[in-house]
């Protein structure tokens, strides 16, 4: 492949020749001037041996990398360049006139590994915002659980849960569409709006799991003021090797078993093949006092990738399949508000059965397929062009307890197909580095009508395109500046059936009457096209104050188009017995966020203090609006609406190496979110949490490591009052009773312990054992951010045995 600069040189030379009227001749007086450049260091390479195979003419490059051949005849020649530390380079050149050519030499493939690995470490997500990376121990410890649990040890990161299997990460009080999950450079598209929609991704397939709080990577997403989670596979070695890793977990609570294995085969040529698989199964979990009926779970995932890494170019093809079936606590399935009240008043779940592995309705089944192709090409060491195409197919099915012929049918069955094409170019070196790209996404959502249940979200077709530019300026070792801008244009085409009853109640006729395309059996089909243009900007700076102290300041302006669910949702929210309505008149949400970070990142005592402030306009929340009379009694209905909001908080991390054998880690966070219009707290703000972690090792027993963790969650005292009244019958009389869905549960504290032995050599393998205790004291507690907190306690003690092999 010819390089860009060669092309340019040729073009320039041709122009010169043409303009001077130089006539080509058959005389052998052509001069070939060359320069040999080390591709990695972008420096001249001396002592390279250059040979023209046809004529056996030879030359040796000078200290400046130059060489010259005189008196060459026109025609094709083959030039072979050899250097002690590089792969031979053979190039065919069509000689017509004298020319200057640059030759880029690659190091021996064995040396490349270092270079590639070094490069991947250098390639930061942001040079000014703090990036958190999960350690291998953290990843292994959470291998049995979801991505949310893996990240929860980071200060300022919490989880919003539905039971124990459905866990969504919350960063700086935001979740769902306000945070981005990027895997292999692809934004995860999986109906992320739903509170009970856990990310359909297996974090065990990735070695590099990083997180930035705030919209720190405009390269990937511009609408995620909460934060960005980036999952990547490790760069693979360029040599002939086969290696793998297997983790086997066994858990007492839920009697669960996991098998997680990955294998890599790589070759000297840079080609590689990687396969990773995860199998998980558990039955009903238990709280300290009772079995949590129907909380079993099954997960099967597989990932393949195939590619070739070279210095000049890389390609990769990958496929992954994620599937799970998750049981939802049986007693959380309720019919109406009275049932909710009975559940709240009862100390333990209303239905408790013996342990089983069976998963029945209510449950979820999710499948996520991803196929992608990536290609990147380097023009010299500093500039790189990437292309990527990906296809994601997400199928979400939710099963309720149903009647009649529909008993085994899903109540929600959504098929989301997303195609993303993106390309970017990175260039610049030293002081200024830039990255710019374009992308286009098309997405089709199909709500399967076979459910025989009114669509929770409508069918839609969404086209999204845009571009970004980011730049990093490093005027000195002590200062970094980041600047980024991203523009996105969203075009939604939505087709939704409205019940006439609601159409009239909300007076939609005057607003949307002209969009009605069909009327059937008490419903109107409305087809609308909605366009949103979003601009997001990021500016950041980072000062190295010396003594390993770093001060960082980032400003983000993000715009987020309202979700389809926020505009058009229409249905019953089971766990809360509320009917949720979207607001079709919503416009985009604009958030300004400032994140400050002061850290000391070397030495025995390290710490990081990170206050932040988010100031949002048109912040979309859902609030109770009234009561709707139905045959199931009165239901509260909630509507999405835009308010002005402010979220502020502070994250604190500290680590201290007390002695050679004992170290201490602490992380804590506090957040406060308010609705600025009503001056009331926002719902679902994580309470103050404090985590302390001690790590011990023994001087005599080198292969032993032990850790104690204490997690303290205070009670959330800032919450909106969404309570309402319902009438129930007591002693033959109607009594109006308060349904308290607002008050957060009490503070709690639980303790974990882990012990690790190993690695020990076993033939060609290394083996490591771990024993991990969660909620060691079997504490009864409920968490504010668990939507099933009205129904049952959290899980009790769990002991996990982990055996890890490195093959």
């Amino acid at each position: 492949m010819l390089t860009f600069s060669m092309r340019l040189n040729r073009l320039v030379l041709t122009l010169i020749f043409v303009s001077t009227g130089f006539a080509f001749s058959q005389e052998c007086n052509i001069k070939l001037r060359g320069k040999i450049i080390d591709l990695h260091e972008d420096s001249p390479l001396d002592n390279a041996f250059i040979q023209i195979l046809e004529t056996n003419q030879t030359a040796v490059s000078s200290a400046k990398g130059d060489f010259v051949f005189d008196n060459l005849c026109p025609g094709k020649i083959i030039v072979k360049i050899s250097h002690i530390s590089c792969e031979d380079l053979i190039k065919e050149i069509d000689l017509k006139k004298s020319m200057d050519i640059k030759f880029f030499m690659e190091h021996h493939i064995a040396f490349l590994e270092e270079v590639i690995i070094e490069e991947s470490q250098v390639k930061k997500l942001s040079s000014t915002a703090k990036t958190y990376l999960l350690s291998e121990r953290q990843r292994d410890r959470s291998s049995s659980q979801g991505l949310g649990v893996a990240l929860e040890n980071i200060s300022g990161v919490n989880n919003i849960k539905t039971g124990n299997n459905i866990v969504k990460p919350v960063i700086h009080g935001m979740f769902g569409s306000r945070i981005g999950i990027i895997y292999n450079g692809i934004p995860l598209e999986n109906q992320q709006w739903g509170q009970d929609h856990a990310p359909t991704i297996d974090h065990n397939a990735f070695e590099n799991i990083r997180l930035i709080k705030g919209a720190g990577t405009l390269k990937y997403s511009g609408d995620s003021p909460g934060g960005v989670i980036v999952l990547e596979s490790k760069s693979l070695p360029i040599r002939d090797t086969l290696y793998g890793k297997t983790i086997i977990n066994g858990m007492t609570n839920g009697r669960g078993v996991n098998l997680i294995s990955s294998w890599v085969r790589s070759f000297q040529s840079g080609k590689y093949f990687k396969i990773q698989g995860t199998l998980k199964k558990n039955g009903d979990y238990s709280s300290p006092d009772y079995i949590l009926l129907n909380t079993g779970n099954e997960e099967k995932n597989i990932t393949f990738s195939l590619g070739r890494n070279k210095i000049l170019s890389q390609w990769k093809v990958g496929f992954s399949f994620f599937s799970n079936e998750i049981g939802i606590l049986r007693s959380s399935h309720i019919g109406n508000v009275d049932d909710l009240l009975r559940a709240i008043e009862s100390k333990s779940p209303l239905i408790i059965n013996p342990f089983t592995y069976d998963v029945n309705a209510p449950k979820q089944k999710n499948k996520h397929h991803t196929a992608f192709f990536q290609y990147s090409k380097r023009y010299d060491f500093n500039s790189k062009l990437n292309f990527q195409y990906s296809w994601q197919r997400n199928n979400r099915q939710e099963f309720d307890i149903r009647r009649g012929d529909n008993k085994n049918k899903a109540s929600v069955d959504l098929l989301l197909n997303t195609h993303i094409f993106n390309s970017n170019y990175e260039w610049g070196r030293g002081v200024m580095r830039h990255d710019s790209g374009i992308f286009m996404q098309i997405q089709d959502n199909f709500s399967n009508p076979d459910t025989q249940v009114k669509r929770l979200i409508p069918d839609y077709f969404k086209t999204k395109y845009g571009s970004y530019f980011t730049t990093t300026i490093t005027p000195s070792n002590a200062i970094n500046y980041d600047f980024g801008i991203r523009w996105e244009s969203h075009h939604n085409s939505i087709q939704k059936y409205y019940d006439n009853r609601r159409w009239e109640a909300d007076q939609y006729e005057s607003l949307y009457g002209s969009y009605v395309i069909k009327e059937v059996a008490g419903q109107k089909l409305v087809k609308r096209k909605l366009v949103f243009n979003n601009i997001s900007v990021n500016a950041g700076m980072n000062f190295n104050l010396g003594d390993a102290k770093v001060l960082g300041l980032n400003f983000y302006l993000t715009q987020r188009a309202p979700d389809i669910s926020e505009m058009f949702s229409d249905g019953l929210h089971h766990a809360l017995a509320t009917i949720e309505y979207g607001d079709p008149s919503l416009t985009q949400e604009t958030t300004k966020k400032v994140v400050f970070n002061f850290e000391k990142n070397k030495g025995a005592l390290q710490y990081s203090i990170g206050p932040y402030l988010s100031w949002a306009q048109n912040f979309i929340i859902i609030e109770p609006e009234g009561l709707l009379q139905t045959t199931r009694g009165a239901f509260p209905f909630w509507e999405f609406k835009a308010v002005d909001a402010m979220l502020k908080g502070i994250d604190f991390d500290l680590s201290f190496q007390i002695s050679d054998y004992i170290s201490f880690e602490h992380s804590s966070s506090w957040i406060d979110g308010i609705n600025r219009n009503t001056k009331t707290p926002l719902i679902n703000m994580p309470p103050v949490n404090i985590r302390n972690h001690f790590l011990f090792s023994l001087p005599r027993w080198k292969s032993f490591l032990m850790a104690l963790t204490s997690n303290n969650f205070l009670r959330q005292n800032q919450f909106p009052d969404n309570n309402f009244y319902t009438d129930v019958v007591e002693n033959g009389k109607i009594v109006n009773k308060l349904v308290d869905i607002s008050t957060p549960p009490d503070a709690y504290h639980h303790i974990g312990m882990e012990m690790h032995w190993g690695p020990y050599s076993l033939k060609h393998n290394k083996i490591r054992f771990s024993l991990i205790f969660d909620n060691m004291l079997n504490t009864n507690y409920r968490t504010y951010l668990n939507r099933l907190r009205f129904y049952a306690d959290e899980m009790g003690r769990n002991v996990m045995l982990q055996i890890k092999f490195n093959h």
Partner: protein, 198 residues
Amino acid sequence: MFKKYLLNAFVLLCSFLLPISCSKDNDTPEHIHEEELITRVTLKIKKQGSADAAVTYTWNDDHEEEGHSEEEEGHDEDGVHVELEANSTYEVEVGFFNASDPADIEDITEEVKAEADEHQVFLELIEIQGLSIVAAANDSTDSNGNPLFLKSVWTTTAVSAGEVRVYLIHEPTAKSGSTRNDFGGEIDVKVDFHVDVE
């Protein structure tokens, strides 16, 4: 070279965009007729030994009460008024319907009968003294012989007034009881009929 790549990229992009964008534009989503909804609850009441035809009182989901309805004092909600005579016996039949499509009204009562083990009707008396309710002899039963209370016999004594709350309970944990809590399960239907015994 850069241009060539961009061109290739563009061609690639178009090749997958075109078929999708064409095929999708003409589709309109299928209308869903929700079969499981219960939007109408009826009480068909016939006085024993009377030649008068049975009267059907209807509770509709959409606030359009049919039959006898009027504003009740001291109660915000509209209700359906059932008028009964004192010292009489009535045969009452509960009916559940899906009337979301007025052109195609479905009788859900049959489904309840077919899945008798998983359903139970409970008629709860609220502040009404002069009325007692027992299952009718010809009532449907579940596999254990428990009456479903789809058909019941109401006996009135003294003059009084109050509500009869009709529940349809799905997957009850018990099939008999005197309060809602006794049955467990989830509520599929909860509607009140105002009853005047005169």
